[in-house]
Point group: C2
Chain length 241, copies 2
Amino acid sequence: MTRHLDRLVRKLESITRLTEDEKQAVLGLPITVKELGADQDIVREGDRPSQSCLVLEGFLFLYKMLPDGGRQIMSFHVPGDIPDLQSLHLTVMDHGLTTATQSSVGFIPHDALRAICHAHPVLADKLWRDTLIDAAIFREWIVNVGSREAPSRIAHVLCEVFLKLQAVGLTSGNSFEFPITQAEIGDATGLSTVHVNRSIQKLRSDKLVSLEKGRCTIWDWDGLKRAATFDPTYLHFAKAE
Amino acid sequence: MTRHLDRLVRKLESITRLTEDEKQAVLGLPITVKELGADQDIVREGDRPSQSCLVLEGFLFLYKMLPDGGRQIMSFHVPGDIPDLQSLHLTVMDHGLTTATQSSVGFIPHDALRAICHAHPVLADKLWRDTLIDAAIFREWIVNVGSREAPSRIAHVLCEVFLKLQAVGLTSGNSFEFPITQAEIGDATGLSTVHVNRSIQKLRSDKLVSLEKGRCTIWDWDGLKRAATFDPTYLHFAKAE
DNA sequence: CGATCCTTTGAGCGAACTCAACTCGGGTGG
DNA sequence: CCACCCGAGTTGAGTTCGCTCAAAGGATCG
């Protein structure tokens, strides 16, 4: 239990400060752990879940299906994230949540979250902050798909995932696991699979990054940031504020 | 004072239920009203505001400037909205907030908001919900700029603004004030001004909507929704849940 | 009654799309 | 053990949606 909730504590400490008391409260949350394969829906559009999902291992993403059969991915989630914490106060899911890879997730009942929030109002503010950072990421994604060229969009996603993983200690040097297919990258950036492929080749030939066998290695962080016009302010890490 | 805060009460009642007690608490918030012309920045990227802004009259939008001089608008805001409520828990602004038109706005100190949240934990949850709905709107905008064709993107924005205005009683029949320039619509949808113009002509010739002299009239709501692939679920109105 | 901002139109260009085929690697079963 | 299959990545060619550049009409206002 505690071992799993450590992931959440670490994530929260990357975006805020927790008192010892709050830390204990988080570690005391009830959690049910579940192993899932790739491409498993955790919640679907229209669901009314009574629990939220803490990522323990693997990659998840939020998405909406389009009438024409297309799919728009709206965020990637890594261990420590609670991708559907919002369902605590929004009854009906307006999007789906799926595993991109084999994953381990923990479910925390809404009742327990509500209880902890009312018992620790300042901790509630910090969970609120977490959802506000998710919102800030959505805003940045609007910029990404709305105004950047194809290679920049992809570079931006890579910068973001790298920093999110680094914040919870899941990078090794300049590289990290990134088992996301080019089709998924396309759904996240509003590009066709073919164009994603050619754009990645561009990033590769510019010696910025390599992306193969489910692993991403950043050869030139400054160059990648520049290509992405990436500014990490929107991630609102604690150490930056 | 109370007269101004009525706007906020009405907005909150469109997305949640307020007890009499909570209503009184909201109406008791301190507020400083200010009249602003068009194109006035209220907060800028990098600011650390100590108050949030309640829209009383007019249109506001959130935006980010791009290195190339471009601008991405990430949301439009109408009376009753608190576009920067998030600054309550995110120290540094990662975007700007500007008036699109002559506007009247009220400023509410963060201290007062924090106090009301800790005194009324359930009301705090409802304000949290409000920010979560904003996040849901950002998600839908990712879909909008990421996967829809030009006329659909514009139609979608019109559907959204119409329902948001209707929820606070600011539509008259099938029409509403929409004093947003085509250049701004372009910045919001990731399209060039020229292409916005041609796309609006398409919507017009399809007899869906007219858009002139700062007013939008919807001739065929179902057709417009269809063109936009608009599903209002993401707005999370109280009556729908 | 210019000045200015917004909208509209025309024409050529380019980024990204679609369709289609081929490669490569890992798994599975005969 | 190899043949096959399937999913993911890659490549080529033609097309299209939306862009840029440029300029001409309205509308509104001092």
